[in-house]
């Protein structure tokens, strides 16, 4: 079943489309269908927010874009996910380079049991990068982009777990950035953070969108409204409404979107 919701946000004309999702359906092995017939255009250099109640298929969509769902019990994927025109779901896709192009930050900050520095160089090491100078540069560049450099520059060799929760999550963001991806997927990245850390993450996201395609699953409607350039409302695996950020939160066209945005169900 293909959803009737508009696949294009209204003012997309001056935007480059980075990711084009066409009729995407994903089912898990327990028989549940997580996404049904989603079509969505995600523009480059903007924050696209996927929001809606739990179980709506937002995380599934994120994890389909970087093929992380390959690790899960997915039995069927239909449709296409085009990244720069290439179908990432094709069996011919090199998932390793795809995942380096499409970075991800998870809900819970998961730092690897290594030093702060090695958490960042880990992704570079995986591709065989051994050059110390370029690694040091990459470490500093990514930490600055994640607004963490000032806090950790003197303690790069300490274990990453010694950082606070908010710092750990910014380290995870930096770890994704160090690979110089084109797209960053964030799955409720601030759900475990205090308001100040949340603010720092949101600030760095709004700066990062100058250079990256950002797809964010926010942990609240408020965060969605604060950060969204484009917002897509998901309910029960369907895309209900997709439009430029301000509009969906102030003047939604679908009654279900309105009910959710106004907090009538969650």
């Amino acid at each position: 079943m293909v959803n009737a919701a508009p696949a294009l946000p209204v003012d997309h004309a001056d935007r480059v489309i980075k990711i084009k999702i066409e009729g995407l359906s994903v089912s898990y092995s327990d028989g549940t269908e997580s996404l049904s017939g989603i079509s969505l255009l995600i523009p480059d250099r903007a924050i696209t927010v996927l929001f809606g109640p739990a179980g709506g298929g937002k995380s599934t969509l994120l994890r389909t874009i970087n093929r992380l769902n390959d690790l899960a019990d997915v039995v069927e994927v239909r449709g296409r996910v085009l990244l720069d025109g290439e179908d990432v779901l094709s069996p011919k896709t090199d998932v390793i380079s795809l995942r380096r192009k499409v970075g991800m930050v998870f809900a819970r900050p998961v730092v690897l049991p290594m030093s702060i520095r090695r958490n960042l160089t880990y992704g570079l090491e995986l591709s065989g990068d051994r050059d110390e100078t370029s690694m040091d540069e990459a470490v500093e560049r990514s930490l600055r982009a994640a607004a963490l450099w000032d806090e950790v520059q003197d303690r790069l060799d300490e274990p990453a777990v010694s950082l606070s929760g908010g710092q750990q999550q910014r380290l995870c963001l930096a770890r994704a950035l160090v690979l110089q991806p084109e797209v960053i997927l964030l799955d409720e990245p601030t759900s475990g953070l205090d308001p100040i850390s949340t603010g720092k993450v949101e600030t760095s996201l709004t700066q990062l969108k100058q250079d990256y395609t950002i797809v964010l699953v926010p942990h609240s409607v408020q965060q969605a409204a604060r950060t969204a350039d484009y917002a897509a409302f998901f309910l029960g695996g369907e895309l209900i409404e997709y439009s430029p950020g301000r509009q969906i939160f102030t003047n939604p066209t679908d009654q279900r979107t309105e009910d959710y945005v106004e907090g009538r169900f969650g």
Binding site: L68, L71, I96, G103, Y122, G123, L126
Partner: protein
């Protein structure tokens, strides 16, 4: 005192009676359980104290470094010590790669299907087979059929088969204890599954794997039955020169001098027991140190 307070005292009083009764039962339970704990500790303490107090006087430089003389009634036990050392090493060389490899396959790669369930059942059953059966199996397969003869190779292979199930189960457990989120993160950064295992999972699981390996080898080092038909020499007053040589070994030597040689001085028996026990307990201590160090350093 108001009526209100009296009313609330009523139920409290009955609760008080049953509470003191429950406390008595609890105290009785604790006493019983501490007794049980004590009873499990007592044998090991008694064994160690008994063996060491009787055997330590027999330990001398000559005892540890000389070849047995006078039908093993004098001299040292060097060939048995060396034999057990090589057997343990040989067992490790065979069993560790196979056991850890199988554990990685089961924990990281294998899907949960009929095939892997069969493997698991086989492993559990392998661990339950009496050691003398392993000995006879080793005799049939390695000594006779493959014509390795009574040799360190045949003995190590037999002990390895016996040790592998222990290594697989402990290593698999150690691998599964590593949080799955580490794997997901590594893969999301463009790591292959093998890179993820090698760079993240294995280093984290290593202390647990090592502990299992040492405990498995420790058991192999002390076994008599599996080496009885496959490697052990009754009396061989020289050191083995190749893996195809038969050898003396501490557990079997202890059995021989305790039951098969008339007029054997009892201090030599105790001395041999001390050496064997020290070897095995020493490995145990190493395993404990590795485990507690790793636990102190663990970041998850």
């Amino acid at each position: 005192m108001t009526a209100d307070m009296n009313a609330s005292l009523g139920p409290q009083k009955t609760a008080g009676v049953s509470a003191s009764r429950r406390k008595r039962i609890e105290r009785l339970g604790f006493a019983g359980m501490s007794l049980a704990a004590l009873l499990t500790v007592a044998p090991i303490v008694l064994i160690v104290v008994h063996i060491y107090s009787n055997g330590l006087p027999a330990i001398s430089w000559e005892f540890l470094t000389a070849i047995p003389r006078d039908g093993m009634r004098a001299g040292g036990i060097l060939p048995a010590i060396v034999g057990t050392f090589w057997l343990t090493l040989g067992t490790a060389v065979i069993a560790v790669p196979l056991g850890v490899g199988a554990a990685i396959y089961l924990a990281e790669y294998a899907a949960d299907n009929r095939w892997t369930r069969t493997i698991r059942i086989a492993i559990i059953n392998l661990a339950g087979i009496p050691s003398v059966v392993y000995g006879l199996f080793g005799l049939g397969l390695f000594v006779l059929f493959l014509q390795f003869g009574t040799s360190l190779l045949a003995g190590s292979l037999t002990l390895a088969i016996m040790t592998i199930p222990v290594i697989i189960s402990t290593a698999e457990e150690a691998l599964r204890a590593v949080p799955n989120s580490f794997r997901v993160v590594s893969v999301s950064l463009g790591g292959t599954q093998w890179q993820t295992i090698r760079k993240v999972v294995l280093p984290q699981a290593l202390p647990g794997i090592l502990t299992g390996v040492i405990l498995g080898l420790e058991r192999a080092a002390g076994e008599t039955a599996p080496i009885l038909f496959t490697v052990a020499a009754f009396f061989l007053p020289r050191l083995p020169h190749s893996i195809f040589d038969a050898s003396m070994a501490l557990p079997y030597h202890l059995f021989v001098i305790s039951t098969q040689v008339p007029g054997m001085p009892i201090r030599i028996q105790y001395g041999t027991a001390v050496v064997l026990l020290t070897f095995v307990l020493g490995m145990n201590v190493i395993a404990t140190i590795i485990r507690s160090r790793a636990r102190a350093r663990r970041q998850w």
